[in-house]
Amino acid sequence: MAKIKARDVWIMGIWKENPVVIQVLGICSALAVTNRMDNALIMGVGLIFVTAFSELTVSLLRMYTPKHIRMMVQVLIISAFVIIVDIYLKAYLPNASKALGPYVGLIITNCIIMGRCEVFAQKNKPVISFLDGIFNGIGYTLVLMIVAFARELLGFGTFFGIPVMGQGWMNWVIMIMPPGAFFMLALVVWGVNTLREKREVPESAGEVKAR
């Protein structure tokens, strides 16, 4: 495997292999928390933290971890970091903790963390793994923010809770309910993939085939 540079990691995480749009990971939470931008943002920041530190720890321990129990080890590490986030929010940001409620615990079910630990951190050095976690988290957060922006704008007529649509605006209630999440996320996935194909197929067609 060719040596992976920090520059590649961020392009991969945010654009080329965006965890939500390209790898279709972390969909459950992308659907659930995107009816408001503040919820989506806190969720994203939590995920960035947990993914980065889990990947760092998994990578540090990768030489010592017996191969056949590595999944158990990963789950243990990820859950520990999720609990740390939960305790931190409860102690120092009680309002954020209250607003997010059950979602903090749900960070652990996000496939992105486990996926990146298994695919990337298990095979790469600690620092680059840490960066990979950060950029994959950012990639996830960006998609969430885009979906949440559209849903909140149309569903509540607000932007981060500030009314922007004016008096005559009728809220599209469907956008803040679960179907709205499916519509918006599908549109974003469709849009990004169309854009990507247009831009990238001509130069890297051979590479795609080789896979």
């Binding site: 928390v33 009816n35 408001r36 919820n39 321990l61 010592y64 971890t65 017996p66 056949h68 129990i69 158990m72 080890v73 243990l76 590490i77 520990a80 609990i83 740390i84 305790i87 931190y88 409860k90 102690a91 120092y92 009680p94 209250k98 607003a99 997010l100 409620g101 059950p102 979602y103 809220n171 209630v173 803040i176 309910m177």
Partner: protein, 208 residues
């Protein structure tokens, strides 16, 4: 014999007990870290919880307060009297009572307050809920809580709280969160009726 010798020579990470030792050690390390964090933040979390509760009580009793920790403490000590049934505002005589019941996903807890003569609701707030954020979770928003202020509660059957546009409706439900909205009334209505019955039964001795 020779096989046993081979086994003994195996490096540690290839032995069959190595995974067990590894897992145990790792678990111990992580649990110690978490236990330490939990222990060192317990006091902060408990005080935050207490302040939160006092703030909720001040809010339902309609007492003005400064939103710093000291402001809440002093406003609470000056303005609130703790009784066996709940909390009473010293100046206005408004009474706050604790209620709880089940919502859509988990328990909903909070305080509701009534005027001293038991004729109108004076406030409502939630201290614990795990409803869907952005939908049912909006019961914590001001517009929802504020509309319960001043609702008359002598209206009797089917109520006293009814969502508009039903006949006799006096508060708005949250669109997109029907289950949570209904759960709130299902908790509050019996609670208020019971409270009224008790106060009538108990109050008549003194007043007549």
């Amino acid at each position: 014999m020779t096989e046993e010798k081979k086994a003994a020579k195996r490096p540690l990470h290839e032995t069959y007990y190595y995974p067990v030792i590894f897992m145990v050690l790792l678990t111990v390390v992580f649990i110690s870290v978490l236990a330490y964090l939990n222990d060192s933040t317990r006091e902060i979390i408990e005080t935050a919880g207490e302040i939160n509760e006092k703030e909720s009580i001040l809010y339902v009793l309609g007492i003005d307060y400064d939103s710093s920790i000291e402001g809440i403490q002093s406003a609470y000590e000056e303005g609130v009297k703790e009784e066996s049934f709940g909390f009473v505002a010293k100046e206005s005589g408004i009474e706050a009572l604790f209620f709880s019941g089940s919502g859509l996903w988990g328990d909903i807890e909070g305080f509701i307050s009534v005027s001293g003569d038991m004729k109108t609701l004076e406030g409502l707030t939630f201290t614990k809920q795990s409803e869907t954020p952005g939908l049912g979770g909006r019961i914590e928003e001001m517009w929802f809580k504020e509309q319960f202020r001043g609702v008359e509660i002598d209206s009797g059957e089917g109520g006293p709280l009814v969502y508009r546009p039903e006949p006799g409706g006096n508060v708005d439900a949250i669109s997109g969160a029907t289950s949570t909205s209904n759960a709130v009334l299902k908790i509050l209505n019996p609670f208020i009726r019971e409270m009224l019955d008790e106060s009538r039964g108990g109050g008549s001795n003194g007043q007549d």
